[in-house]
């Protein structure tokens, strides 16, 4: 039945369907200028690299202070610098901001011993310190997904060295209704055994879990591709996102253990006080202005998980910014580009 209908539709819309195959042929991921905004490597430690983007405009916005983009640990950082004309980092540069971006790199076997404490209080903290010294200003942090959670953890100890904080679809309450939360809290899921066996958590294990969250979504995705196969701009964005979505990295073993135990099972971020390795962290310590960007249709980080920031934030300047789309679309989608990015830039330009 469906093929019959498609054949009929094919007859009605010859232009679109005849573009399908040439559209597919267009898919040359290596040719896409992904993450190509000019930047300099300014610091590296183990696999981590800190880049500073070269300014695009003659005047930089000194009022707002430098910005540090913190991507998620699970994926590559270029989601925040996808394509020329479709890049969050490039947009911020055009607005005159001084932008840094972290690239967590790809963990190798020896990185299985790296826990969240090392990632946050050594690697991330050193980047913060580096930007502080290089610019003589407090950096504003923009964390995407788990990157935001890491930024929050760092702020719990180093709030006075940070300017504003913007969280993009970041989970705070890990006891939520999402499948990821349920799976992680399963008593029968022996996370220690898993880490002992695999070392780092392999990317294909992580990716298959994410695919299992919305197993039917690829059908709609490919349908949309077929319908818009004549739209060059759409194709570029689509392939860039597909490249990013399939370009996953493994998760450092000890950090994954911390993520599951401290964040998912103990839900420590929702507590007044908790410990992460040697660090005693108190929620009251953050008074920095915060902005929370979220989406109501995010199936990876549900609304309640991000909105929990309101409950734990004790400061005076809290701003909610709802966005349209899913976990990724809310940050890099067309609407995000025209509506969310300008608001973030404007908010960051406000003096600290």
């Amino acid at each position: 039945m469906s093929f019959e209908v498609l054949a009929d539709e094919n007859a009605n819309r010859p232009l679109k369907w005849t573009h399908f195959v040439p559209g597919l042929k267009h898919f040359r991921p290596a040719n896409l200028p992904i993450g190509s905004t000019a930047k300099d490597l300014v610091h590296s430690e183990n696999k981590l690299k800190l880049f500073r983007y070269q300014p695009l405009s003659a005047t930089t916005n000194s009022k707002g202070g430098p910005i540090l983009l913190i991507p998620s640990l699970i994926n590559k950082s270029y989601i925040l610098d996808l394509l020329p004309g479709y890049s969050f980092a490039e947009y911020l540069l055009k607005q005159g901001h001084d932008v840094f971006i972290l690239d967590w790199g790809e963990p190798t076997d020896e990185d299985r011993f790296i826990g969240l404490e090392t990632i946050v209080f050594r690697y991330l903290q050193r980047c913060l310190q580096f930007i502080n010294e290089a610019t003589q200003q407090k950096p504003n942090l923009i964390g995407y997904c788990i990157g935001g959670t890491l930024a929050w953890l760092l702020a719990l100890e180093k709030a006075n060295e940070i300017g504003r904080m913007c969280f993009l679809t970041t989970p705070f309450d890990f006891h939520n209704e999402s499948l990821l939360s349920e799976w992680s809290r399963l008593k029968s899921f022996d996370v220690e055994k898993m880490i002992e066996s695999t070392g780092n958590v392999p990317w294909y294990l992580m990716q298959s879990s994410f695919h299992a969250l919305a197993p039917l979504s690829p059908i709609r995705k490919w349908q949309k591709l077929a319908e818009k196969s004549g739209d060059q701009e759409f194709l570029d964005r689509f392939y860039a996102l597909e490249t990013w979505g399939n370009d996953n990295v493994s998760f450092p073993g000890a950090a994954f253990l911390d993520l599951i135990k401290v964040l998912y099972r103990e839900n420590s971020l929702m507590k007044e006080k908790f410990e992460l390795a040697q660090h005693c962290l108190v929620t009251d310590s953050i008074d920095n202005p915060v902005m929370n960007v979220y989406s109501q249709t995010d199936h990876i980080v549900p609304l309640a998980a991000t909105q929990a920031l309101k409950e734990i934030y004790r400061g005076t300047e809290y701003l909610d910014l709802p966005s349209i789309g899913g976990h990724i679309g809310a940050i890099v989608g067309g609407r995000a580009q025209s509506e969310t990015w300008p608001q973030i830039s404007q908010w960051l330009s406000s003096s600290n």
């Binding site: 039945m1 469906s2 209908v5 009929d8 539709e9 200028p33 992904i34 993450g35 190509s36 000019a38 930047k39 300099d40 490597l41 300014v42 610091h43 590296s44 430690e45 183990n46 690299k49 880049f51 590559k76 270029y78 190798t108 076997d109 020896e110 990185d111 299985r112 011993f113 790296i114 050594r122 050193r126 310190q129 580096f130 010294e133 290089a134 610019t135 003589q136 499948l179 349920e182 799976w183 399963l186 029968s188 899921f189 022996d190 055994k193 898993m194 002992e196 066996s197 695999t198 070392g199 299992a212 919305a214 197993p215 039917l216 059908i219 709609r220």
Partner: protein
């Protein structure tokens, strides 16, 4: 109503129902228990194989994978400690007074036109 609309409506209904069904299956405690047990068993088997290999290499007085991982990790730790010391020395030299707008890089490749 065109055949396309009919098909789309039918597909939407199917998609909603199937998603709901899959979601409840993924949350079902029995399904999850069986999957977890299966995964745990796979992990245990891999641990047994890894340990057998580890013992073999050790008996041959050769470094095994774990030894190499630990050594490389310690090298990374040392690298970090050197950074700590550098920072400490810098602080002591400057008496905590840092020049404004200092250009600072801490890598071998100082300028990289980065194309991922």
């Amino acid at each position: 109503m065109t055949r396309k609309n009919l098909f789309e409506q039918a597909y939407t209904v199917w998609e909603k129902r199937t998603s709901k069904l899959l979601d409840s299956a993924m949350r079902n405690s029995q399904v999850l228990k069986v999957s977890s047990d299966f995964m745990n068993q796979q992990f245990k088997s891999k641990i047994v194989v890894d340990q057998a290999l580890l013992k073999t290499w050790r008996n041959l007085l050769l470094p095994n994978k774990k030894d190499q991982e630990k050594t490389l990790h310690l090298l990374n730790e040392l690298h970090s400690r050197i950074f700590d010391l550098e920072e400490r020395i810098e602080e002591l030299n400057q008496g905590n007074e840092k020049p404004l707008g200092k250009k600072k890089t801490r890598t071998k490749a100082t300028r990289t036109s980065a194309n991922a």
